[in-house]
């Protein structure tokens, strides 16, 4: 900043040119950082409060069971096969719920890896001892 003030008397043109030069450098740097951040791979949604997490897993699990039960009930009523399709679809819904929970939990695990420097166990080389 101080060098700019030094040329204060040297005319507007010089000052403007210099400032635009600085601005150009800043833009280039910002663009570099931006594309580097993009190249760093898809960042996972780094959510959220504990309650939000619990709510997410809970709804993922229950929604699948509900879909299975309701679809089974409607199919049964339509085909007059009470209760067999509901039995099967409820179990399928349960499996889908577990699958949903596993997927959501894997995402959350990926979003918050163990902090660097934490004890990584006997398998990895520790330089502590």
């Amino acid at each position: 900043m101080s060098e700019m003030r030094d040329t204060g008397g040297g005319g507007e043109d010089e000052r403007v040119r210099r400032q635009s030069q600085i601005l150009k450098e800043k833009i280039a740097r910002a663009q570099g950082a931006h594309s580097a951040g993009l190249a760093g791979g898809a960042s996972q949604p780094r959510d959220m409060t504990g309650m939000g997490r619990a709510m997410r897993l809970g709804t993922e699990f229950i929604a699948a069971i509900l879909v299975g039960a309701v679809a089974g009930y409607l199919l049964d009523r339509w085909l007059n096969t009470t209760p067999w399709i509901m039995l099967v679809l409820l179990l399928v819904g349960f499996a889908a719920g577990v699958l949903n929970v596993v997927r959501a939990a894997e995402q959350m695990n990926k979003a918050s890896p163990p902090p660097p420097g934490s004890d990584l166990g006997p398998g990895t080389d520790d330089d502590e001892n």
Partner: protein, 75 residues
């Protein structure tokens, strides 16, 4: 007693069974968490076992839920 009423009472009693599954699931995740905090490095490899235990426990709860649904809608 009206058989219709007995049906609803039975469904309510069947739903109590889910409490057992709730205790079991809480137990599983609690044990996993206390184990994982002692040895964080091993927790990743036990994630599959965790989900397996959760699924089996929750399946028993789902059975009582199923009985309740059957009593309500199918019988």
């Amino acid at each position: 007693m009206d058989p219709e009423a007995a049906k609803y009472i039975g469904a309510g009693i069947a739903a109590i069974g889910m409490a057992g599954a709730a205790i079991g699931v809480g137990n599983i995740f609690g044990s996993f968490l206390s184990g994982a905090l002692r040895n964080p490095s091993a927790s990743q490899s036990q994630f599959g076992n965790l989900i397996f235990g959760f699924a089996v426990t929750e399946a028993l709860g789902i059975f009582s839920f199923l009985i309740a649904l059957l009593l309500l809608f199918a019988v």
